[in-house]
């Protein structure tokens, strides 16, 4: 059992309070998964070539500032860094591959959680309410966010195994369920020279979808392929720079509820975590159908 949550602000005014609104959703879904938690939040896109890099280390008292200064010297770019607990966000005008290569040499123990123009991602082990407080989720703002509370069933509890998983840029996935063929997916993708960070089944699904999209699929086409290739139980919630996308397996083994008003689209594993939302009494509340692809687009 795990909990998934998603919230998209339809009105600009709501973007400021996105983090605040998600806290009770998160706290409530801690009851479905309490070993680790994570949140990806999408904000205003940075102008290229600038990118956001969400970085993580579990080394105590890590000297992030010194890492940023070496990065500037070695790669000849400006790097702005904001740190919080085990996490740092670096904004710099460099390619994803250049940073990863550089980290291999100079940033031992530092992992990239997410890359893109809009995405910022936090994830760690611990009770979800505690993770939310440690990383200041309540103060976050953005157009939409995707979160997860994990109860590990098929691979270990570690910060890397927490959701959301990412692949490519501005793309993340959270998963409630368990897949029965993650290793055949991995073999398929490894033949395409894709690398994995964990042995987690959800990571395989995330990389599969993003690989299809990199090959030219739309998210709908990628999910259509997933219905064919991915076997198991799942409710997937996916975040991209301007979309929130939901799909449930053909048996609808794992739950999901959507509440939509003219202000927001809110998604959760269970209604009770949406019950506090303003205007929820008048919301259009529905249970997503199995195999249906639901796409919500960020308003311009």
């Amino acid at each position: 059992m795990c909990g998934i949550i998603g919230l998209m602000a339809k009105k600009k005014e709501l973007r400021q309070s996105l983090g605040e609104l998600i806290i009770p959703m998160f706290d409530c879904m801690a009851e479905r998964g309490s070993d680790s938690a994570g949140l990806a939040i999408f904000g205003t896109a940075l102008e290229p070539p600038l990118r956001r890099f969400s970085l993580f280390t579990d080394r105590p008292a890590y000297d992030w500032n010194s890492l940023a200064r070496s990065l500037e010297t070695d790669l000849g770019c400006r790097a702005e860094i904001t740190t919080r607990d085990n996490h740092a966000e670096v904004v710099a005008g460099i390619e994803d591959d250049s940073l990863r290569e550089w980290l291999k040499q100079r940033g031992k123990g530092v992992r990239v959680l997410a890359v893109g123009h809009s995405i910022e991602l936090f994830k760690d082990v611990g009770r979800p309410d505690e993770v939310a407080r440690r990383y200041g989720f309540s103060a976050l703002s953005g157009t939409h966010c995707v979160g997860h509370t994990r109860m590990a069933t098929e691979s270990q509890v570690s910060p890397a195994h927490a959701h959301p998983f990412t692949a490519g840029e501005d793309f993340c996935l959270v998963h409630n369920g368990s897949l029965s063929n993650p290793y055949s997916l991995r073999r398929l993708l490894e033949e395409e020279n894709l690398e994995f960070e964990t042995d987690n089944d959800s990571e395989a699904a995330c990389r599969f979808l993003q690989w299809r999209m990199r090959k030219g699929d739309t998210i709908e086409q990628a999910l259509g392929a997933a219905l064919d290739k991915i076997d198991g139980f799942y409710t997937f919630l996916i975040g991209t720079a301007n979309q929130m996308v939901l799909i449930r397996d053909p048996f609808a083994c794992k739950p999901a509820v959507v509440a939509e008003t003219d202000q927001y689209v809110a998604i959760s594993s269970e209604f009770r975590s949406l019950a506090h939302l303003p205007g929820v009494a008048e919301a259009n509340i529905f249970e997503p159908l199995p195999e249906q692809i639901y796409v919500w687009q960020v308003a311009a």
Partner: protein, 229 residues
Amino acid sequence: MKTVRLDLSELSVRELNDYLHHRLASENVREVEILHPNGMHNIAVGLDYPIELHVRGNAGYFTAGMNQQAAVTVYGNVGWSVAENIMSGSVRIKGNASECTAASGHGGLVVIEGDSSSRCGISMKGCDIVVAGSVGHMSGFMAQAGNLLICGDAGAHLGDSLYEAKIYVGGKIHSLGADAREEAMTAADHATVAALLKRAEVDISSKEFKRVASARTLYHWNLEAHQEY
């Protein structure tokens, strides 16, 4: 005889259920109103007393599970497994119900005024279920006894591996499950449908219903079927 109002913004579900299990008779309660359910799970599980219970809002999983004697009404939607294992009495949902409505229900009546999603009436063992709207896939799966009456449409694999429960459908059937077949409505079936609609206070008397029952080909192992059903 008195009416009691219990507010779930002040009480925990455990405290509420403890009250419903132990205090109704001694306090001579005949009617209970539950406020602010906010989608919480296990509300009014294990009732065994002839009261009227009103839940004012959306409730979560296992609402009114294992009900005996009580008449429960939810003025909203409910989550998975409402009236699971109902033994007697009635449970009425004014909104929609999620998956596994009245799973394993032995007796009593369950009425969903909206839609009920997948696996409605799974493994039912003698209760009656009336859904005014439609049901999702695999409804009536392995249903053993009782009646499942669906006024709207039924999703894929209706009545898969059905035993002796009867299913009546007023709308379209997406597909039938293994060993389920459509049969001609008899006079007794018409009478059952009319009686169920009356008991459920659902008014759609003009509709024609289809009867779905077990073809009983799965009752015994068939070596020649080669696992193809």
